[in-house]
Amino acid sequence: MREQILTFLEKNSKIDLGELAIMLGSSEEVIANEVQKMEQEHIICGYHTLIDWDKTSVDKTTALIEVRVTPQRGQGFDNIAERIYNYPEVQSVYLISGAYDLLVILEGKTLKEVSGFVSNKLSTLDTVISTATHFILKKYKDDGIILAKKTKDERMLVTP
């Protein structure tokens, strides 16, 4: 049941729980209860809205930054990750396998702001060995959702 609820909420956190209950053959109380429990257990960590900022007048620049760091004795990567994720302009921080250690997703208003953050704050951290910044030019698909325009129903209106 939990898995089914989460599958729905992940795609549409605005869904009416009564409606969800009907679709899953359950009752609204049961669903609401489960959702509340999962919020308390921090399985559900928040409710986001997927926005195509390109369509608004708000300027946003997103960058993916590969960060190589020296892990600290007894702390591994957690300490340095925390140093980075506490900056509000940092959207996501992932520990990554492969050629670098942390993937940092950064959002700023302008290119300058983002590069300023990298050179002044990120690179200057003691444990950071190197960074490589990739700016996102266009988002095609985000969080499993294709951002391009919805296509219309191509089917004939009535068929056998």
């Binding site: 209106l157 068929t159 056998p160």
Partner: protein
């Protein structure tokens, strides 16, 4: 000038759906619940394979029976999903949609005057195909009180010494009815006793919403040698436009069907055949996902009908519900036409699927939840309006 038209063609009644389609096409702002095909796009893995084979120039005829690789995948799939054992080389061949298989079976099996039992309401093709094959269609009217299943008694009552084939279209379009193992065992017993054959159209097999998976009558003891199994990719893999189906059955019948297929069609589209291999190898999960989405919509629709007070037996197959509108004292066609004109919602009148579908509507839930909600809102308005006028 001489009359160019054959009597046989002229005598075939045009599809009731076609007539309705013409009215609908003239209108704007219509929300349709009238479509008999999935709303999902074909899974990307399948489309990707289709594109790839075109790029590679695989654009020639295949063998008449279809690609060997595809037939082997079909055989594996039927075993994996329904426990059926079909020899890929001798008992399986690929058709242009399930519809071609239906046509070929009748043409390969019927002598003039042979009777074919057709339980209605059902898909519109069986009856004309029987007529074109010089057979005699004998309709069995299924009843809502039996949840539109075929009962042993109904079957026995319809059998004469000319009866040769029973059409078994379950899960059913338009009612959504299914036949479970017990139902089928009773039918199978009669089929064997009376020495008949079954044309089992299982195109909606994957869309069975009970705990148990779909049961094919061909999997019952003594029935494989009496069953021509029709299936395809249209509904399960959302591949209607690819026009690809298949047919399994006793070697001798299949051989005769392939012979006609060879002269009439040559082979199913090559591109679709390659794509279908990907469908069977890579898409079990996608099929499952689509099925779950249909099931959720089905529950939502049943709930909406209960709220409206519109009587409807709970269907467990395909993607249709078949609510009863007899309380309004109108024919299905009147109801559907007024619903279209007054609320701009298109549904198919039940009698398009046989006379006993009169008093019912076929409502498809192969639509997004947003579309369903919009349409159900309008249908609810219409029902309330009619009831207030009745008082």
């Amino acid at each position: 000038m001489r009359n160019p038209i054959a009597d046989k063609a002229r005598e075939i009644r045009p599809s009731g759906i076609r007539k309705f389609f013409d009215i609908v096409s003239e209108m704007d702002n219509v929300v349709s619940l009238g479509v008999g095909e999935p709303d999902f796009d074909t899974p990307w893995a399948v489309r990707d394979e289709g594109i790839y084979t075109l790029e590679r120039g695989k654009t020639f005829y295949t063998s008449n029976a279809g690609l060997k690789e595809l037939r082997e995948e079909i055989s594996l799939y039927l075993k994996r999903r329904f426990g059926l054992e079909y020899d890929a080389a001798k008992e399986t061949f690929v058709t242009v949609g399930g519809s071609e298989g239906i046509d070929l079976a009748f043409r390969a099996m019927l002598n003039p005057g042979d009777e074919v039992l057709i339980p209605q309401p059902c898909f519109v093709s069986y009856l004309p195909c029987v007529q074109l094959a010089d057979g005699v269609p004998v309709v069995i009217d299924l009843k809502e009180e039996n949840e539109f299943r075929l009962t042993k008694q109904e079957l026995l009552d319809a059998i004469t010494d000319k009866t040769k084939i029973l059409v078994l279209p379950f899960p059913n379009n338009p009612t959504g009815a299914i036949m479970d193992r017990k139902d089928l065992e009773e039918i199978a017993q009669v089929i064997i006793e009376k020495d008949l054959y079954v044309l089992s159209d299982e195109i909606y097999a994957e869309l069975t919403f009970t705990k148990d998976v779909h049961v094919s009558i061909a999997s019952l003891p003594g029935m494989k040698e009496r069953t021509i199994l029709i299936n395809g990719f249209s509904k399960s893999h959302a591949m209607t436009g690819w026009r690809l189906g298949y047919c399994c059955g006793p070697e001798e019948i299949i051989r005769q069907m392939i012979k006609i297929h060879q002269f009439a069609i040559m082979c199913a589209p090559t591109n679709s055949q390659y794509a279908a291999i990907a469908a069977l190898r890579e898409c079990d999960q996608e099929v499952e996902k689509m099925k779950e989405a249909y099931n959720q919509r089905r529950r939502y629709l049943m709930h909406a009908f209960r709220e409206m007070g519109l009587p409807c037996f709970e269907p467990f197959g395909a993607f249709y519900v078949f609510p009863c509108i007899k309380e309004f004292g109108m024919t299905s066609e009147e109801f559907a036409t007024r619903l279209l004109e007054e609320e701009r919602v298109a549904v198919v009148p039940g009698d398009a699927f046989g006379d006993c579908g009169e008093g019912y509507l076929r409502i498809s839930y192969a639509y997004s939840m947003e579309d369903l909600k919009a349409a159900l809102g309008r249908l609810g308005n219409f029902v309330r309006k009619l009831r207030s006028q009745q008082v």
